[in-house]
């Protein structure tokens, strides 16, 4: 809007204010300074015209995954979206995550994700291996390590159309973050649970995913969720369920624990 001295200007913001019964986009003209991120602007609103504006955040450094919201319709971390990615005269619209019930303003009830986390069978330690005796090669842990970069921002869970557009699928579908957790454990060199791929398909809704990659697009950790977790899990499920060649190969060249 109006530019003033030393890189400060006023920007037109629209922030969704409301609760689970009703709500609307409220207009604000807020000061923006050089180097700021959207969360700074929300905090400025809080400290000035809207003391009770609800927003969730912690680290302000893209590490905790608390400040997820939607900015101009795109799921983003508020603390990692720099203001200089918008034109000075652009209207910046900030809304809560759409897929989860709203509590107030920008804060949503993300308990769906904790429920799903609980449904994923935990790491099963190998029998007879004492603490301190775990031996794993770096190349063998790297794939799972990529998935463990996840900061549980739930942006992927929020964006995935399977539940975003279809509330009724929430029952059967674990969502990309938790299907990826299955992949992480399935690729863990010492997990003794076994056969997580078929389980993912039969119990956690892997088949709902149509690999349209929105989860990968929004992941702030740049985890290749679809390419490195979901598709390999689909392939592993096929290995177990539908591929006679693999079955035959396993019969002939059986190698323990490959």
């Amino acid at each position: 809007m109006t530019s003033t001295q030393n890189g400060t200007h006023l920007q037109h913001f629209k922030v969704w204010r409301g609760d689970d019964t009703k709500g609307e986009l409220v207009d604000y003209a807020v000061e923006v300074n050089e180097g700021e991120v959207v969360l700074d602007i929300i905090h400025r609103l809080q400290a000035t015209e809207a003391n009770d504006l609800a927003v969730r955040w912690n680290c302000k450094a893209g590490k905790c995954g608390s400040c997820s919201a939607e900015i101009n319709g795109r799921p983003r971390l508020l603390c990692m979206t720099r203001m200089n990615t918008f034109a000075e005269n652009e209207v910046v619209t900030v809304t809560p995550l759409r897929t989860f019930p709203v509590i107030r303003d920008l804060v949503t009830d993300v308990s769906f994700n904790y429920t799903k986390a609980r449904e994923i069978p935990s790491f099963t330690p190998p029998e007879g291996v004492e603490p301190g005796e775990y031996r794993m090669q770096q190349v063998d842990v790297e794939r799972s390590q990529e998935f463990r970069k996840c900061i549980e921002c739930y942006l992927c869970q929020n964006t995935c159309h399977v539940v975003r557009d279809h509330e009724e699928n929430k029952q059967e579908f674990a969502g990309p973050r938790y299907l990826m957790r299955m992949a992480e454990l399935d690729m863990h060199p010492l997990d003794a649970h076994g056969n997580r791929a078929v389980e993912s398909q039969e119990e956690h809704g892997l088949g709902f995913c149509n690999i349209t990659k929105c989860c990968t697009e929004v992941c702030p950790e740049h985890i290749k969720i679809t390419d490195n977790a979901l598709i390999p899990m689909k392939e592993r499920a096929v290995d177990r369920k539908y591929d006679p060649l693999v079955w035959l190969g396993n019969k002939i060249f059986r190698r323990p624990g490959s």
Partner: protein, 270 residues
């Protein structure tokens, strides 16, 4: 596309009441639209060509278009068939009927193309954070889409067809009259085959088969190397998918143009 309105499933259940289908301000509808147009155009061209039963072979230099490889119909012109002729010559049966259906299925079940057409044709979703217009969604959990899981079989078959294409391209260096020949056509045929290999080898099923299935790479150093290589290609799978669509069309068009006598092949040797 952008005018479709729909309100199903997106509010209620305590969600924030936001009426707009999406609040995205960028031109999110452009990529799916572009994909849609490109696919429709390509399929139209390919269909016409597959049933044309003409201009698919340049007998002078041995150029065979990939759309007719392998040419196994009794109608195939002399010199164009390297694997015998056994299919009847009827108008509704493409001369390469033993390979085309599988190539089609290979691409139809390809993870990348699935993404592309689910977005562009089925709008499921048209773009990220843009609501899809369907009231219900079951993805690939049931018939018929559960058959997408058969992708790897088409991969195995497509790999064989790509071998055949490679054979064609190599054979084209030997002029039917004898002796070595090199023309622009050869270069196009080879470039197409290289891209086809790039596409085929970067397939997700291939990545899984060469090593992705393993949990202990350290015990299989060779397969780990292969997996690493395929993984690198795999990050460009979508680019290969588009590049091969283009190269197939270009190769075919070039062969057609030379064969029909619209242009003459640019010769370098012989």
């Amino acid at each position: 596309m952008s005018t479709t309105t729909d309100t199903s499933g997106r509010t209620g259940a305590g969600r924030a009441t936001i009426a707009a289908r999406t609040l995205r301000t960028d031109r999110w509808w452009l990529p799916p639209l572009a994909t849609f147009v490109a696919f429709v155009a390509w399929v139209a061209y390919a269909t016409v060509r597959a049933f044309m039963q003409e201009y698919y072979f340049v007998s002078e230099y041995g150029y065979l278009t990939p759309f007719y490889s392998p040419c196994v119909s009794v109608g195939c012109v002399e010199g164009s068939s390297h694997f015998g002729t056994f299919l009847p010559d009827v108008w509704w049966l493409p001369y390469a009927a033993v390979s085309l259906p599988f190539l089609l299925l290979f691409r139809l079940t390809c993870y990348y193309y699935r993404k592309a057409y689910y977005r562009a044709f089925w709008l499921s979703p048209p773009a990220c954070a843009v609501a899809e217009p369907h009231a219900r969604y079951t993805g690939e959990t049931r018939f018929p889409l559960i058959l997408q899981n058969a992708h790897r079989y088409f991969f195995y078959l497509a790999a064989i067809v790509t071998l055949v294409n490679t054979y064609d391209a190599v054979l084209a260096f030997a002029k039917p009259g004898g002796g070595f020949g090199l023309g622009l056509g050869n270069i196009i045929l080879v470039a197409n085959v290289v891209l086809l290999w790039g596409y085929t080898a970067s397939c997700h099923s291939c990545r899984s088969a060469v090593g992705g299935r393993l949990n202990h790479f350290s015990r299989h150093p060779v397969r780990y190397k292969m997996w690493t290589f395929v993984s690198k290609l795999n990050t460009r799978h979508s680019q290969y998918a588009w590049a091969t669509l283009a190269s197939l069309a270009i190769t075919d068009f070039y062969v057609m143009a030379v064969s029909a006598g619209w242009i003459s092949d640019l010769r370098i040797v012989g």
